[in-house]
């Protein structure tokens, strides 16, 4: 996508927001101009701290999910018996909306960072596991055999075939679940914490009735989500150029 088109879409959305704000004319819908000013003001206060707290939670859980889910996905994808054994378990666990586990996770892991990181980890973990597994399982047997005929044993197959094949699957998984991850982060940060954008939004809106600041928090959270999406997009172009070559 061209940057110009994205920028144009952004301007259109801001205009729409502005028009709605004029029509509604209530304190609960401030104009984008007002929110922008508040955002800049809040950047000089405690918003960056909250942003970083949220960012750290997403970043840590994404990294952990990749580290744990990709090798496991590769293993399952390579071994039919192993996959036969685990497929029903994954089939049961994968569709559970992980956010409903939040109260349980908090009970076990406490109210600190760990429970929040673990929640997002759960979401990303299953998504990456399933996509990497399917990617590895769907590699054509002809491809594997022909690389074996070049002398590759298990280790070289892993290095030259399975590992590079898993990278696009990981990125697709992240692309698909980054939105959900940020949404769940928001919910998780409503629970007994004093750091993070979820807490910030809740505090400004429901406790202090500072609506422009609440909106600034929403914008910050959107920027976090969009930023992550953008990074995944960029990584895909960097690491998987063959998918874009025409």
């Amino acid at each position: 996508m061209r940057a110009k088109a994205v920028l144009l879409a952004l301007v259109l959305l801001l205009l729409l927001w502005q028009v709605l704000a004029w029509i509604v004319n209530l304190a609960i819908l401030p104009s984008p101009w007002e929110v922008g000013q508040t955002l800049i003001r809040e950047l000089g206060r405690d918003l960056p701290g909250h942003f970083l707290a949220s960012f750290w939670r997403v970043f840590a859980s994404t990294l952990l999910a990749i580290i744990f889910a990709s090798p496991l996905g590769l293993m399952l994808g390579q071994s039919k018996p192993l996959n036969h054994f685990f497929a029903p378990v994954i089939y049961l666990l994968y569709p559970i909306p992980k956010v409903v586990l939040l109260p349980i996770v908090v009970l076990f892991l406490g109210i600190g960072d760990v429970s929040k990181i673990f929640m997002i980890f759960l979401i990303l973990f299953f998504q990456i596991l399933v996509l990497v597994r399917d990617q590895a399982a769907n590699l054509r047997p002809e491809l594997i055999q022909s690389v074996r005929s070049l002398g590759a044993g298990r280790r070289a197959l892993f290095r030259y075939v399975y590992f590079p094949a898993s990278i696009p699957a990981i990125l697709t998984a992240l692309r698909q679940s980054v939105g959900t991850a940020v949404a769940v982060l928001y919910v998780a940060e409503l629970f007994a914490t004093q750091k993070g954008l979820g807490y910030y939004i809740y505090l400004k809106g429901s406790n202090l009735f500072d609506y422009p600041a609440m909106y600034a928090g929403v914008v910050a959270m959107s920027i976090l989500g969009f930023g992550l999406y953008f990074v995944v997009d960029w990584l895909e172009r960097k690491l998987c150029p063959w998918q874009f070559a025409r």
């Binding site: 054509r140 055999q145 005929s149 070289a156």
Partner: protein
Amino acid sequence: MIQVRNLTFEYATDQPVFHNFNWSINKGEAWTILGPSGCGKSTLLYLIAGLRQALSGEILVDGERLMRPRPQSGLIIQDYGLLPWATVKDNVRLGLDIRRFYGPDGKHAPVEAKVNDADVSFWMEKLGLKEQAEKFPGQISGGQRQRCAIARTLVLQPDLLLMDEPFSSLDAPTRESLQNLMIELWQQHNLTMITVTHLIEEAAILGQKILLLNEPPNVTANVIENTSFDKPNVRSDPEYLHLCQILREKMSK
């Protein structure tokens, strides 16, 4: 070079594809294995490649019993087997990378193997891939992909070249030019070459000797000598046309 002794192989119990099958090949010969689909021709090739194991009997290559893929054997398959995420150049050097990965251990790479990146340029040049070096397999034609697969195999300096329907999915002119190229390479590099094909014309072009397989189980090796092999303008040679006619009759039996 290759001795197949009392080979029995089956996919399903009591339905052998080969039963006590014997066959042998001398060094430097060009063979084709011809037969209808399901006759076991690809199976035989994969057995010789060491990618499948016999139920009983044995296959000797260069006097040694085959237990796993042999580093001096090269395999070329119909759908090229190229890594879609690697450039043409990286695909051609894949075998060398794998050898470097293991070192000359005699199992994955020959003990005396030298890994020479200059060979990559040599083979890419030879197969007309210089311009395609930085492209991905998805960006080049089928013929170019198969050239890439051939370069990737020959860079490893194999003494035995195994090809499974290598040109079956290519159009006729591309197929013929690659067949001519293979004959040329076979002569220049002193290869032993076995090509599996279901195409009668291809069998008659690429094989000095033709092994004809039929409905399984295959028990005896039905070998046909090709006297028209490597003649100039072979495709219009009466001997070649006659051979094709004979093969056609034998296959429809």
